[in-house]
Amino acid sequence: MTALLEVKDLKVAYGKIEAVKGISFEVNEGEIVCLVGTNGAGKTTTLRTLSGLLKPVGGTVTFDGKPLAQVPAHKIVSLGLAHSPEGRHIFPRLTIAENLQLGAFLRTDKEGIEKDVERAYEMFPILGERRKQAAGTLSGGEQQMLAMGRALMSRPKLLMLDEPSMGLSPLMMQKIMATIAELKATGTTILLVEQNAQAALSLADQAHVMEIGKIVLSGSGQELLHNEDVRKAYLGED
């Protein structure tokens, strides 16, 4: 079986500055693959490139058997790749319900969409209670739930989450991580970028450590969780 997502020697640059310097990894169906690494390592750049928001300067990306290089950003989601961006980026002046509807922008099955909206409200009851409220009025954690719910509305084959726990209270962080574990249990394939390495690695089937544009260490989540260097650098131990 071939991987759902195959990234080979991907290079991305901002002008002359190369932010991703030739990375390769795969995501298989049903897995959680985690990218960890310090700020500025190139994780967000990688996800934005997979979504077509940035154009690579080298390498190939194959998703579900199709090359992504020439696909414009607005056509990516229809292939089954959904992206919950860093910083959440909900539409602040639209309501929660409208934000969720936008996640299903290209779907035409009205009933299925309604069902999935209800499912998002079940997953995150607070969103259901505030469905008519402008999304900008939500707290950071609630906005994160909305961003995840919105990404799921396209029924993606692969869900990319960029730092879903960034800036959240420990309690909210736990809630988000528990949701990711639930999604994994229901078979959702996830590419997860996280600063909160402890929680992320314990969920991950495979993980990669990025440093200044390169993958410097790869292994299963458990392997990295118990790796000396990783513990020192990312889990705050010395």
Binding site: S51, G52, L53, A73, H74, K75, I76, V77, S78, A82, H83, P85, H89, F91, P92, R93, L94, E98, Q101, L102, G103, F105, L106, G136, R150, S154
Partner: protein, 310 residues
Amino acid sequence: MHELPQQLANGLALGALYGLIAIGYTMVYGIVQLINFAHGEIFMIGGFGALTAYTALPTGTSLLIAIPVMIVGGALASVAVATAAERFAYRPLRSAPRLAPLITAIGLSIALQQLVWQFYPDAKKAVSFPEFKGEAFKITDSLSIQRADLFVLILAPLCMLALGIFVQKSRSGRAMQATAQDPDTAKLMGINTDRIIVMAFAIGAAFAAVAAVAYGLDKGQINFEMGFILGLKAFTAAVLGGIGNIYGAMVGGVVLGLAEALSIAYIEDIPGMSQLGGGAWSNVWAFVLLIVVLLVRPQGLLGERVADRA
């Protein structure tokens, strides 16, 4: 002494005209943060498109039949020019520093004026436009509304209503709101933001064409330079109402129109200001109003809170 109801009616009609043009500035700004300074010329092109359509009609066609044809002709011309400008002048500059599209807009504005001046038959001076003649509607002894004013007073609210429903209720309208609030994330939803931007230019151009027909019917003539001052006024209206906000554009237009009409009528009655009244000073008062409003409310009357636009 001027009658107040009459001045208010005049101001309202003028304001509705400004508002229709202002929609074009505000929609484009709301979505791509570009001040399309060539929009005044898009309005002017709408006028010439309408006139061309009128000329193609058999002589003696009643105005009631001719007006819809003129609106369609004007809109075809203005939308074609506006979308071409977007595609070939502005889109290639979307990631360039802000000054580049601004300078392009000014260049485009001059180029469009010169093209009409050079190539439209007899357009080197004002050309006559079918005038909406006939009795003004007399409402009371002191209030009567010209037919051309009635035209804009009916059409402007209808256009606003249609636009409001489109933006709030339709799928494309929702996509337009999303694109205005966060273009990259809109793409992640599967929205073709390039198409949405073209749509914003097109809607603004069509509204400008309606305004141009109203203007022509009122004045009985149009000219290649008419987009300059009206464009500037409409831009002022858009900023006054809160640029980026479609309802703000109409509110800004109406406030500006009323302020001008009232300043023409009443400023000279204020003791010591007799020199500063009348039509000659109305533009000055319009800009004074703009400055005062922006000092108190920098985001404009209905402006979006800047903080949301992260």
